[in-house]
Symmetry: C2
Subunit: 818 residues, 2 copies
């Protein structure tokens, strides 16, 4: 079966330059004088020259000698495709900054096109101010070229080493959510945000256009998106570049934006079109803000955005030496001329291409941008590349925190009080929201109430600027001034939070545990950003990314198998030990202590796991603080090995697992009271305590570890997540062959809580049986009777669940009996 | 700072029922007769009654007795919010199936609203045909109610146990991509796809509307999306429900669809509106298909879709007993009346609500739908719930596969030939595409060419129905009949592939290794689907989900840190051993053998990791087949311990790591030739061979394991991914305290290949040094000299990279010297 293609050209034009034949612009007018036009063109050419230098040259930076193979980098790396469009955009926004005194910074979605912006950062001086050895002269320019995408130099994207960047753009999709996050509560700031047309196909980007529904024009700044359609991804046309323009405009209007088109390839007319369009957009932004701020009424303006159609690899030769399309085709995506090292013809092409920008007229003999062009960039203090928002630690102030101890639960006796862990924490969180109204936000994908955190709405409602209904009065908790942000897109809320903290503020993401896997990749990338930032001397510490996982696996018995996945921890442990932290507070007081610590910390990714239901409470506040400070410890009150070696160590990490482990401990002591079996109970809050010290700063030394777990006694470990993770952490510990871990092992469906535990052998009976089976030396034949009874109880629990849909009450109402 | 809300009502209306006050419809007309209308309403009521029964009742299914607490399930689980809208939609499409003889099935995005559809599946008989003990009578109905969301019963979503389902809808976002995947190459089929307005906020869903650009109306079927706006997520209004309708329509047009609105709450007029609209949509679909098929010209129609606005919890009481909004508000999301077990008033409310549907008139005394209503459903063979597409294994035919051996590389001597692994495989893959034009597709996020698989374009180009340009002739490789699908959305291509294989076909996803983390969660959920399907007797085996990871960490030296992440394997190993498989073929012939195996397999998630660059080739074809069949083995040609115990075992998994491990082996043998150090070389293809047999069917027994690795000799293991994963797999193996693993440990930036390895201590020098350090007993002081030389070589390699940007040639040109 073969289908014909119905149509071979787009509606926009015919022939070779079909899309770009003629410069088109929604806004008409020619605001630029001949002189301005000429200067803008030359400035633009200077950046293009620098881009090619970064890609190709290690020597002869000003092309003052004939270009030879020896001047070329031996390995050609970097991307050319979107450089021109990005630089073009940046230069035109610079003009607006100067004219209107704007406070702005840039986000580059297609971070691979970093040369387009880095060249600007160099020209306006910030690069050399930050890296003095890369000075504004011939030697500096040579270093500037060589270090790009070179071992020991810096990356080829908008990496942490790049000034003015909070968004690397290595993994695509998060430019808009990062930009919005950074302008929330920054009412003066505009985030100029370049969205690539490749990136625009990703899910995270596609939904993040809706961020405009969560932006309050009074208290927040603004994002000006430039959808940069250069037509191609790596090897394919892009979806948005090939739909009818009418459809594209409809899409952007549907997303709630006012789109302006600038399209073409002729530089002079493109300059005029972009200048007129940029100014229209900036004026509209300022008008909307004034309207909202003067009236005090928050509304959702149809904010402007620009659709910029410029050819892929713009200003490159139209065809390469082999006669294949280069400019305006995907072959211009990466290094445009690939054979300059082996093909003298191509080397010549490159040389004449670079000479075409007339470097000698731009940089003189010394290699410094000539003063009349230098004037085009904003002056010190206004340059986008030095906006302190892009080095948010400079702006960060510690949170105002109440004494978390005041929100603690009274625990007279451990293991007898049932109380709701999460809503206890919510009382503390409420004060944080209340006391940090300009610098703290809580994010979540529509689960904050379900996660029992709704108390915080008393201090900050849910941000909503998207139309109200009368019913909202009945517990809707919506407000344009809200401090809680809920959109059913883990990607968007995570992106907002990253942008918010990278620009110097604080926050918390709360999520159902299973669905945090949706943002594995984002958290990975943020961890990488932080790790690399730690190596960059001038980057100041930002608040930690705090991720609170609740509605956890053990209480997703009713939602079934799709909602049972504690595997996010397996992703996190692979990241740099300098960055990642994992906490499993067993009860409310421990959660309070842990969260207080996390909110004070910087430059970490803190993952905190705690369930939202009623749970047994174990530690009075001061004991909780002491326990969490150590991160791991023996619970003497639950142990009966005082002063002696235990027969078995029962260990736990996680709230539900701690309850089951404790119940197993009680069962063992009851069944073997006559032979005085010694049980030691160890609880782990800080998971990285388990790993040897050399592998993570929190890791215990072997001596410390053995003091808790012994080196020669069986250990039964009830673990919140997949059991193998504990083995991965303890694999080379003394006595690890005696470590027996139980955790979730993908045995789930619709269950009761206890039956779910039984299916995964993490229930009290299975744990006690496991301990008995590993104390054969100690118990001899005496274990058999107890074992049999435990098996019976387990069967009874299971059958009861199947028959009634409920757990046996004597088991669920269990409390610590000693 | 406090902002006022500018506007308190939407444009659509005022007052209590603002949005639904008046039934509105894009299509006018009243196609239903009074009799039809009456029957449709009663049929709809029957489904609503069943939904409530599922949520609440364990006894008294027909309410023939007064409703008592004892009849109520002790734990109230399930979701009511979207049930009505989903059932309403389904019933109206049934009408079209009967009228036009359509071939269709249903996808429920908001799978939590499963009762709305399951009630229909029961009414039309398929449930009882599949589960005979849940018969169409009073006893059956009671079982049907009780088993819903009950331990030992079935889940509360569209789980694998549910007939007619290929999409669970537990994790939101994939309804459209699954639906499109299922209709590709199924030209007769229509996927009725209900998209929730919560789901519509997710990134994956937001971009999957663009799937229409990849559907060929000649050879593919069609998706009819129903965007079901019931206004609320769990606790929040939804974005799309609160934007102006003009904006929403613009958005849908922008996505390339023709939207039709049906909005209201009055049942009779809603029936008329939906009937008229459904028929318009179906006629348009048939018209577009005819036009394309008659002309043979593939174009992209502006396919119809429906925006259905009905109240959340439609047909529930408007307010609950406490006077709070229920119907039309988020409180109707889950179980609508929550206190029926404790509050007799609420129990009464429930009873009279259920009686309001008049069950006695619907089901008679016996509990079977009365014949005049039964006639509304399609007849046997046409019911959506029995469409074999939803049990794709019924339709699946094995792939036509050439003998992969014919595509193998000639390897005369191991470890001396450099050849491109991936493009060798591409020759085989090309024949699979060629020979299975109707049943095999390759998916990828714009990386197939970059991943060196472009040979396959000769058999099947890239699917493109979205507008062509003349430049596309120059290597664009686009065609509406393509077999390769590339959109820069990992979510969309993965969703398409899942839908394609679940409906009985075959495929391959190829991705850059780092960015597969983007779909961690989707692969998780697919694994869970397969695992649960294995427990469902009537589900037939579907093709495995084959994920080929290339552009791997060790050759992302030039893209930098964001592109270095081999952690997908850490996610996969946590899934069920019945489902997941991981292969790391070390060379081209092994890749061919592995892929052949994967393409023949069913019901697995196969993850295959192999780099795309030129690599050393190790095994001739027959040796490769033998090696891959075993999955792990000693390479005798690389070992010198024949007949004796080795002094050290050098092991590897992964192509680049195998090269480095082999080079380390050679270094050891060279440096210690005089003392005759015995090195055994073990290579792992099938990663799960490492885990004990009891934990995974592929796992070796301890005896088999020890025969390879010994129980008492040091092992130096060069591993492709994070090193701890090997420890997690081997933690309780004999001799595991002597297992020393090196792998990627988050040490990266812009590097050369060798320097990247050095940073992570996986280079040949570091591996050899590690071996020396662990053979102190054997070597005594003799190791020191060799160690020093190796350290020097390592420094030289590193410095060379920093100075020149290149690796030392003698190291990169290294081949096996023995």
């Amino acid at each position: 079966m073969a289908s014909e293609v119905a149509q071979r050209t787009l509606t926009e034009g015919q022939g070779e330059w079909s899309v770009y034949n003629k410069t088109r612009s929604t806004v008409s007018g020619e605001p630029l004088s001949k002189d301005e036009l000429d200067k803008l063109t030359r400035y633009f050419h200077a950046t293009m020259y620098l881009c090619l230098g970064m890609l190709y040259l290690k020597e002869n930076p000003l092309l003052q000698e004939e270009l030879k193979k020896d001047h070329i980098k031996p390995r050609l790396l970097g991307h050319w495709g979107s450089d021109a469009g990005q630089s073009f955009t940046y230069i035109h926004f610079n003009r607006m900054i100067k004219k209107y005194g704007l406070d702005a910074f840039v986000v580059s979605g297609p971070g691979h096109g970093a040369p387009g912006l880095i060249s600007n950062f160099y020209l306006e001086g910030v690069w050399s101010e930050t890296y003095p050895n890369v000075s504004e002269n011939k030697e500096g320019m040579q270093r500037f070229f060589k270090q790009f995408s070179f071992p020991g130099g810096h990356g080829s994207h908008m990496t942490p080493e790049v000034v003015g960047s909070i968004h690397e753009g290595g993994e695509l999709g998060y430019s808009l959510s990062h930009a919005f996050g950074a302008v929330f509560d920054n009412p003066k700031t505009i985030a100029l945000t370049i969205v690539g047309d490749g990136e625009s196909e990703t899910g995270p980007l596609a939904t993040s256009w809706h961020s405009n529904k969560f932006l309050n024009p009074i208290r927040d700044g603004c994002v000006l998106p430039i959808l940069h359609l250069n037509g191609y991804k790596i090897n394919n046309p892009t979806v948005l570049a090939r739909i009818d323009e009418e459809e594209l405009i409809s899409l952007m209007r549907g997303y709630g934006w006012t789109p302006y088109v600038v399209a073409g390839h002729d530089l002079e007319s493109m300059h005029q079109a972009m200048a007129a369009t940029m100014e229209t957009c900036v004026k509209e932004i300022l008008k909307f803000q004034k309207e909202a701020r003067d009236s005090g009424k928050a509304f959702r303006p149809k904010w402007p955005m620009i659709i910029l159609r410029s050819p892929k690899g713009w200003t490159a030769p139209r065809k390469n030496n082999d006669g294949h399309y280069l400019e305006g085709f995907w072959r211009a995506h990466q290094v445009p001329l690939t054979k300059v090292l082996t093909n003298p013809e191509e080397l010549k092409t490159l040389e004449s291409w670079m000479h075409g920008y007339e470097p000698e007229k731009l940089f003189g003999k010394e290699g410094k941008l000539i003063p009349e062009l230098r004037e085009l960039a904003p002056t010190k203090g206004q340059r986008m590349s030095e906006n302190p928002i892009t080095n948010g630690g400079l702006l960060r102030q510690p949170l105002r925190l109440q004494n978390f101890r005041e929100f603690g639960l009274k625990v007279d006796k451990p293991g007898v009080t049932m109380a709701p862990t999460m809503s206890t924490f919510a009382q503390f969180l409420y004060t944080i929201v209340r006391d940090n109204q300009e610098t703290f936000r809580v994010m979540g994908p529509d689960e904050t109430e379900s996660n029992k955190l709704s108390k915080i709405y008393d201090a900050g409602k849910k941000v909503w600027v998207n139309g109200y209904l009368p019913e909202d009065e009945d517990g809707g908790n919506l407000s344009p001034d809200g401090r809680v942000m809920e959109m059913l897109s883990e990607h968007t809320v995570e992106g907002w939070l990253e942008g918010y903290i990278l620009s110097g503020r604080h926050g918390l993401l709360n999520s159902y545990e299973p669905f945090v896997h949706i943002i594995d990749s984002m958290v990975n990338q943020h961890s990488k950003w932080i790790e690399k930032s730690l190596e960059v001397a001038w980057r100041q510490a930002v608040s930690s990314l705090n991720i609170l996982l609740t509605s956890t696996v053990w209480r997703q018995d009713h939602n079934g198998f799709t909602h049972q996945d504690p595997g996010f921890l397996s992703v996190i442990v692979d990241k740099s030990p300098q960055v990642v932290r994992i906490y499993l507070p067993p009860d409310a007081n421990c959660l309070l202590s842990t969260m207080d610590h996390c909110f004070r910390s910087t430059n970490y990714v803190n993952v905190i796991v705690a369930d939202k239901q009623n749970h047994l409470q174990f530690l009075p506040m001061e004991a909780a603080v002491a326990h969490c400070t150590k991160g791991i410890g023996i619970w003497d009150w639950a142990s009966n090995d005082a002063g002696a070696e235990p027969d078995v160590v029962i260990a736990s990490a996680g709230d539900v697992m701690t309850q089951e482990a404790l119940a197993a401990t009680a069962l063992l002591r009851q069944h073997f009271a006559d032979v005085d079996v010694k049980v030691r109970f160890v609880n782990v809050v800080d998971l990285f305590k388990l790993i040897p010290h050399g592998y993570h700063p929190h890791g215990l030394t072997d001596r410390e570890y053995t003091a808790l777990f012994t080196a020669d006694k069986p250990i039964v470990f009830a673990f919140h997540s997949y059991p193998w993770l504990v083995h991965r952490l303890t694999y080379n510990r003394p006595g690890q062959h005696l470590m027996h871990v139980r955790g979730y092992k993908e045995k789930g469906n619709i269950n009761t809580p206890l039956e779910l535990a039984i299916r995964n052998e993490t229930d009290r009976f299975s744990l006690a049986i496991l301990a008995i089976d590993n104390m054969k030396d100690r118990l001899g034949n005496r274990g058999a009777g107890a074992r049999e009874k435990l098996v019976e109880q387990r069967i009874r629990a299971k059958n009861h669940a199947y028959e009634t849909g409920m757990d046996v009450e004597e088991f669920t109402d269990w409390t610590w009996p000693y």
